[in-house]
Symmetry: C2
Subunit: 325 residues, 2 copies
Amino acid sequence: MNLLFLGTSAGTPTKQRNFSGLALRERRGKGWYLIDCGEATQHQLLHTPLSLHGLRAILITHMHGDHCYGLPGLLASASMNGRVEPLLIVAPEALKAWLLATFEATQVTLSFSLAFQFVEALPCIDFETLEVSTTRLSHGVDSYAYSFTEKPTPALDTEKLIAQGVPRGPLWGQLYNGENVEWNGEILESRAYLRMTQPPGKIVVAGDNDCPALLASACEGAQVLVHEATYTAAMADKAAEVRHSYAGQVAAFAESVALPHLVLTHFSPRYQSRGEAASSIEAIRQEAQEAYTGTLYLARDFAEFSLDKAGRLTELSAAGAPSAT
Amino acid sequence: MNLLFLGTSAGTPTKQRNFSGLALRERRGKGWYLIDCGEATQHQLLHTPLSLHGLRAILITHMHGDHCYGLPGLLASASMNGRVEPLLIVAPEALKAWLLATFEATQVTLSFSLAFQFVEALPCIDFETLEVSTTRLSHGVDSYAYSFTEKPTPALDTEKLIAQGVPRGPLWGQLYNGENVEWNGEILESRAYLRMTQPPGKIVVAGDNDCPALLASACEGAQVLVHEATYTAAMADKAAEVRHSYAGQVAAFAESVALPHLVLTHFSPRYQSRGEAASSIEAIRQEAQEAYTGTLYLARDFAEFSLDKAGRLTELSAAGAPSAT
């Protein structure tokens, strides 16, 4: 799985950071999932290789405007671009009524059908190559995390096949595809020749949340947590008031569950890439690093990260996309 | 008055052109008016000198998403930035219900109050330095034009004052400000010393419209018409189907009413700044020039035009703003 950040600012956009939006790309193919869709998410997509035709589902963590105001326009553009595949939206139930009312008020008829799954039911959603589960968080409005777990892809035990003298060829393919085959007068059972190589990739993407500990179960088996760090501890009172987390709080949680990789995002515009120490994005990084010994990343717009089969998350080199919306 | 284009694309955004948005700036001071507010209009503003604190009113021409989806986010950001001045929104009546429902669904409480004027009543709206009148157009949904007329600013007849020996000083200021004054044993009436110098500046900004002739009355006394030219005549059938205008049609109308300046905007993304002749933005220009002998401009994002006191519209040099959203 890959993560491509489309927006990393909280509340209002800056020249460098858009409202929340995150593309999770499948390991193979052009399929991707969009988590949150702040205003101008579709504009950010113009600067990426992602196409709205490859979009498998949209998942909204909560109904604050900086996480969902881009949804009507993105869907309308997908329609104008001729999408025909149905699209699943996973979101709080109230989003459906707002979205349909918006389309009615502005006379939008989509070229494709929408399906909805309401996150309040905490569904587990089965996609072709991965499964999504949901976790309820703590924020000013109902907010949720989505956990993406890759479906296990078994490897064929070729050493065993060779040792038994089973000839390389179509038989191997049938065994790999789950078929039992007859060879040399005996039945070879597929499952006897398949083995799991690595634990499945798992990425947890949290919505706004002032209580990281709620993600303890979700983080079991996860290699990556993407979580807001709207403030530093110096703004803990403000964070508590608006029900957000500060960097040290998230980092301490990640440390407590021995999470291998933590990606912080959703930074208050008060933290700039330049400026005095206390108002620099580096203050977020330093505070998190003091509490966390895993691999820490601070998301930037258009930053892309790859989770490999061995469970390592690395940042890909910048794609040359513009730094500003 | 100045015109600063924030978005000049129709339907979907491109890397060079955003959804519709146009800032009309007062000749003096920092006050401005926003006509239409497509998605990411607030992002475009980050690249201009305009502040949401100086925004006097928002006027929406019609309720298609590419003209209004940026409104909730722009207002929410104005609130987060601490605006306290009430704000007037002039728009189709249905916009109010949609906007308030959006704020309710996403739990937005603004830091300032909103007032609404419904454009269906064809109001004339009296602002401090200009008046706005409205014209009903023809489109797939109810669509309107807004005409901005500067209030006349009289000049003091200094030649007459000097000829009569009235000494330069506070007396002149009182006369200019409309006060009658006593001088040399007689009453000087203010209105006898004020004269109108130039016809007032008038700019007509039209929403989407397939019948430019509806603007004949509005264009009386106007120096400038801003009008969509979504297509060229080669796409006349498509234009008719989606109730838009093509370049030659608007140009012929402007010629018929002897309009001094025509600014075309709202171009289909099929017309690019580069490419084959038929799909180039230059095809729009050529078609319009063939039918129109006045001064023609094609709007670009961040292009700024100034209407001077003599009624001449000129393009200001580029402000160095980015070409892409």
